[in-house]
Amino acid sequence: MKLDSKIPSGPLGQKWDKHKFDLKLVSPANKRKFEVIVVGSGLAGSSAAATLAELGYSVKSFCYQDSPRRAHSIAAQGGINGAKNYQNDGDSVQRLFYDTIKGGDFRAREANVHRLAQTSVSIIDQCVAQGVPFAREYGGLLDNRSFGGAQVSRTFYARGQTGQQLLLGAYSALSRQIGLGTVKMYPRTEMLDLVVVDGHAKGIVVRDLVTGEVSSHAADAVVLATGGYGPVFYLSTNAIGCNVTATFRAFKKGAAFANPCYTQIHPTCIPVSGDHQSKLTLMSESLRNDGRVWVPKRKEDCSKSPSSIPDADRDYILERKYPSFGNLAPRDIASRAAKEACDEGRGVGPSGYGVYLDFAEAINRLGASKIRERYNNLFDMYERITGENAYQQPMRIYPAVHYTMGGLWVDYNLMSNLPGLFVLGEANFSDHGANRLGASALMQGLADGYFILPYTIGHYFASSKQARPKVDHAEFRKVEEEVSARTQRILAIKGKKAPRSFHRELGKLMWENCGMARSKQSLEANLKLIPELREEFWKNVNVTGEGSDLNQTLERAGRVADFLEFGELLSLDALTREESCGGHFRVEHQEEGECKRDDANFAHVAAWEFQGEGKAPLRHTEPLVYEEVHMSTRSYK
């Protein structure tokens, strides 16, 4: 397999403009002849489907939810970055680019990240034009706030519901096209496999989640915007339905999976309360603008009421360790600091796995009403879940799996190594390296969908000239049969355990052995235990009901089956990457508790190629060549 990143030549700042000029075009009259399948309706998927339809392509859009408006981008809270420099505080495209590269611990592709920063300004304009109600100042101008890993205020926000408002913007654009008949929408439909004909991605096989019907859809290109794989850890801030199936099925059909071990553990989530828990809830990073993270200096104070512990006996861990960024240190660093304090026995709350996020000082300084205006919905959510009032006592928070930087490998055109397969947003690997900065996921999803794919997909159509097969092509038939057979196989087991119970067991293995601290030993344990669990799944899972109607247990089982394979790939990638970088922390590779990168041996993307069932996947590398940035040791001290 050849991984050609297709990065354009020329100076970094001019690559994208040059590339846009070099890309071939499809004439307006010809665009409607091309059909595009878009899977997923989050920020990347909705924005791509709407924009491609506006351009004149025929689009089919698929989502597993009952409406495209419910994709999990909706839950993003804090904001979206844009290098507008409206605050006159020294921001620029160059600075956003550099912050993102550095935040990713120098493991992202330079040219992609620069393009992302350039595009960020157009995204803000586009969203405003759609009627996204970003926060405003009294003079009517857009307001900004700061976010982790940055020393400027470049984050645009709509209270604590920025993802919701951006997604509703993209959804409204998509809805407009559906109303015009240029997009055909398939809600409650799950992609179960990719169809590759003559080496090109030419369609998908889906299951109608209401009728159980398995059917094929052919197209000239397939776009996957299916999000990340956080729920491989079972507990995460992702939605219950988020899954790896679409990207993992594509992997099994030949698409390379890049850097699966880069997973982001978000520092500010509500701690686990018990075994019944189905998900964890994020408390937006924006809270760290006004909240101070601390634990008691002494173990014996941990059970005391926080208000009875005087300031002198508190350890403000981030302010102490990272004075120049303080509470706004990047996520991976803040998470490890919390874990370290809890591992020392200084954690708070019933489980001992929690640290305080304290607003007392900000409430004193700004007044409770200002804090309420900024974060009210988050404080309310916290109270509903924990029964505690964070205006009166500090929040308790602990890190949780939140985002996955790894994903299907794509070139500069966002096309995978399989021609005709494009991958957008969290589902691809390209922009965040080993750690994503806050407010950058929304930016990337919308950059990919509104402003990058619409240019690059045309080039593929204009240059590949690969005919679109019909759905009665033998390959579609074959894949449909495979999908149906797999469903039947799962239904026929009728074992003793619910799919959720396997999912929970897998999650425990992933969190314990491949979570915030990974070692050779723990990862090798996973490589042994995950296949055992998988074997048990295929003997002992119990899926009730049948395949011919709405069967949520069957949906869950199919997703868990893929996670049970994918978890092994993730662990293998983590074992092979013998360095620490960003969210990937190998205990063997550290310096005073910080990540110790090995640029000599690991300044590359690792992309895995499927070799067949029961065979070890093959690891390929794409060297990360930095033309402009100097790879340095990340410091937030």
Binding site: D66, V128, G140, Q161, I240, T281, I385, N542, T544, D549
Partner: protein
């Protein structure tokens, strides 16, 4: 003996849209007060699967009150009656040991039942498709700060834009009216300068689609506002009625 509450659940079971449904009774044992309502249902479902029975189908996804998937009527009230709270954010500490809880789907002819507690809310999507947008194509937007929006207007627009499209307003209304949902979108865009060019046709088209979907009329009882998990207010309905009247007078 495990700690926790023991509850009796009376749950609507219906195989599919065509079948006749009925209530079934289940015991929920050792319920931890820190569980969310849907996590309690997860545990009941795992028990059912264990026994080889079909679990209760219900919609849920984000489980943090923002996606709008969850949709069950709990003891006669959509989302269960805690102020500004979706079913997924309702926690079991709101109930007490020995309680009997009735769980039903949204009931409205415009929201046909798919299975058990799952309903088809695609009518809401079709209303948005009829006009719930600003017609701007990607690219060519002016600078974000070129459009000044007074903070007060923006805050009001945001209050309306928070709607999660769950449909509780319809489920609560004796007429199954969708006015609160439709008016939230009409208000959101009507309050902003970006929404002005299409203000008249938007309200006319969305209301026409709402009527075509078979939602009932609004008699301003306020039951919708009372159950809305995002606290969308009746002011939006007044605003929409005003916009509708103006658009009718203009004859657009």
């Amino acid at each position: 003996m495990e700690k926790g509450m023991n509850l009796t659940l009376i749950v609507w079971r219906q195989k599919d849209a065509k079948s006749k449904g009925s209530f079934a009774t289940y015991a929920a044992r050792a319920v931890n007060p820190d569980m969310s309502f849907l996590e309690m249902l997860d545990v009941v479902n795992d028990d059912l699967i264990q026994r080889g029975e079909e679990p209760i189908a219900f919609d849920s996804d984000c489980r943090e009150g923002i996606c709008g998937s969850c949709s069950c009527v709990i003891n006669g009230v959509p989302h269960g009656g805690q102020k500004a709270t979706t079913a997924c954010q309702l926690h079991m500490r709101m109930f007490k040991d020995g309680d009997t809880i009735t769980i039903e789907p949204w009931r409205a002819s415009a929201f046909p039942i798919v299975k058990d507690l799952v309903v088809d809310r695609s009518a809401f999507d079709r209303i948005i498709q009829a006009g719930g947008f600003v017609s701007v194509r990607t690219g060519g937007a002016p600078d974000g700060n070129a459009i000044l929006v007074p903070k007060e207007d923006c805050d009001l627009a945001m209050d309306a834009a928070q709607c999660i499209g769950c449909g509780a307003c319809v489920a609560a209304c004796k007429n199954a009216s969708a006015m609160l949902f439709v008016s939230a979108k009409v208000s959101h865009l009507g309050l902003l300068p970006q929404g002005q060019p299409e203000r008249d046709r938007r309200v006319l088209n969305m209301v026409a689609q709402m009527d075509a979907e078979g939602f009932g009329s609004c008699t301003v009882t306020g039951s919708c506002e009372a159950v809305c998990p995002k606290e969308i207010t009746l002011d939006n309905i007044s605003r929409m009625n005003g916009d509708y009247a103006v658009a009718m007078v203009k004859g657009k």
